[in-house]
Symmetry: C2
Subunit: 347 residues, 2 copies
């Protein structure tokens, strides 16, 4: 039993949002919705998959016969680089604030293999993904202030294509979350004279109750303020603010950390563990970004098994996030999970 086994709230210092923690509640019976698990018998190549090498996509283009990663402009992107003429006529009113948005949306196929998710790729293959993220971050951040790199994994996370892939959405405006994190990190540095996440990393390593994994350059921790049951923060141990600053050693270590974290996720419930994950980097239009540190958030929805997820609904939408098991308990489970993927152990 940790010291936190009573009902309490914790504050996310990056966003200012609180989360209600009710550790006693994990015992309630569950008769509600169950989710389908990901199919485990996919072929390495699927003729009907618009992301596989050589196949046809939505419009009349064909994918190349790629053998590492492959990136293309999202055929149905939420953002386009066209500037709307109507935007000029928008009225200014505090109750009807509106602004035009332009940007680009790209899709990143992680590998040619239709049936290999991140934990099933080698560290070298994951390093290719890291390098692809870096390449597109650098290219797009030269043009756009805000570059969001993320992955929706699993149908339960709205992923519409089983072929493992992530996305990049880049735009000029700062998104709500980046605005919040920018303000919080800046404010913290003004007040304390140090970097928020640097201080946080030091404390978590010293405390060692929420650490899931670390290597020379990266720390994986269930953050003190985690909202999702097995939420983690993957954060640089070094003064790195965005992908453009990564050294070879840091990129390789990042691939290792992703391999370990995603493998352990799959091993918690012996299933392809769904999540949304994404990177938060310093906006590229800052003159001083010393208050930033690059990090990724992993938001996995599963709570008790491969088919029972936490629903962030009702109270959570209208009041604030609520969690059942404590972050410390979740960290212990993830720390103790095996580094060998459950499908390999079975061989």
């Amino acid at each position: 039993m940790s010291q936190f086994e009573f009902t309490h709230r914790r504050k996310n210092p990056l966003t200012g949002n609180w989360v209600l923690v009710s550790p006693h509640r994990n015992n309630r019976p569950w008769l509600g919705a169950t989710e389908k698990s990901a199919p485990s018998n996919l072929a390495e190549h699927d003729e009907s998959c618009p992301l596989c090498p050589g196949n046809q996509r939505a419009n009349d283009t064909h994918n190349p016969e790629y053998n590492k990663t492959f990136v293309f402009t999202n055929d149905f992107g939420a953002l386009t680089s066209q500037v709307a003429e109507q935007a000029a006529q928008l009225e200014a009113n505090p109750l009807f604030e509106i602004e035009a948005a332009t940007g680009e949306c790209r899709v990143i196929c992680f590998s040619p293999k239709h049936n290999k998710t991140l934990p099933e790729l080698s560290v070298n293959e994951i390093k290719d993904v890291v390098d692809t993220w870096t390449q597109h971050y650098v290219e797009l951040s030269a043009q756009y202030a805000c570059v969001h790199i993320f992955e929706n994994k699993g149908a339960v996370m709205g992923c519409s294509q089983p072929h493992p892939h992530g996305q990049v959405w880049a735009h000029n405006h700062l998104s709500t979350e980046i605005q919040l994190e920018q303000a919080s990190q800046h404010q913290y540095q003004q007040t304390h004279g140090s970097n928020l996440l640097a201080d946080y990393v030091k404390r978590e390593i010293a405390d060692d109750v929420r650490v899931v994994y670390q290597n020379d350059h990266w720390l994986v921790v269930v953050p003190f303020w985690a909202a999702w049951p097995f939420e983690t923060l993957l954060v640089s141990k070094d003064d790195v603010r965005h992908f453009g600053q990564l050294t070879e050693a840091q990129s390789t270590a990042l691939a290792d950390a992703i391999k370990v974290l995603t493998t352990r996720y799959d091993n918690v419930f012996n299933c392809s563990f769904p999540y949304s994950m994404g990177w938060h980097c310093a906006p590229s239009d800052l003159t001083d970004d010393s208050h930033w540190r690059m990090h990724a958030h992993f938001y996995p929805p599963l709570l008790r098994s491969a088919t029972v997820k936490k629903h962030m609904v009702g109270y959570e939408m209208l009041a604030e996030s609520q969690r059942d098991l404590s972050p410390e308990t979740a960290a212990k489970i993830l720390k103790n999970a095996s580094n060998v993927h459950y499908t390999e152990g079975n061989q």
Copy 2:
């Protein structure tokens, strides 16, 4: 075509959060997850339902043979009224902010009928629900600053019991959403000398492009900043700040507005339309709450059909909400939906 058919962002003046609107995106193909529809052949009484009259619940209690609404303390509440001793030992650190939380969680069965959701009840029966909300709001707000009344409808919204019911969670602290709405409404009144939602109601009625329904006392509108495809705001037209101030006429008109809105929801896709809905009232510990106006938010997840929902994942979790069809288009669909429930029309 409305004037808003280009990619843009809108700001929610109650929370400060932005939403990305991409009207062109509604045409993309969907091969992702589909949801189960609610079963439509439930009996009026179910022997195995812990919420039906006379039945046994989780512990050894039996429900009374109730014939209107029925309220009980949640057997697995996220909040309890016990004060934790450990709370006294909590350390103060800006990166590890934590506070004890106490409160109460109750369940409100809307009627004895296992198979009748809100739109299938009469206005009189819905008025019983409004009166029950009022009674418990008044009782709990005498003790707690923040009383959240809400409903999760449908398995897709995490509802674990099909018997139509809502919940009340009351606590001393202000939840994140109430804190945000409190700050925004207060700030608006300081700046403009008028009430935020009063001004908003006037403008929406005058514009008449997002109005779904109104009666003498209530307005239903797809808010300008709606994040969910068919999100609505149900707001008092009068200077009412919380349930304790409702007159008989306002309560009856509220029952009417709920009947119309939930009927139209069901008629959009001819199904029991899932949603989370909940009330935002002035915190009860304010000395001056004149900047508040009571309102409910309805957050329904469906996007295109009874089985295809909008996934708020990836970009939405890590950046900001994104929507495909414009709020104006959604309002038109809801405005044109029939007031006669689709199951009655079929008789």
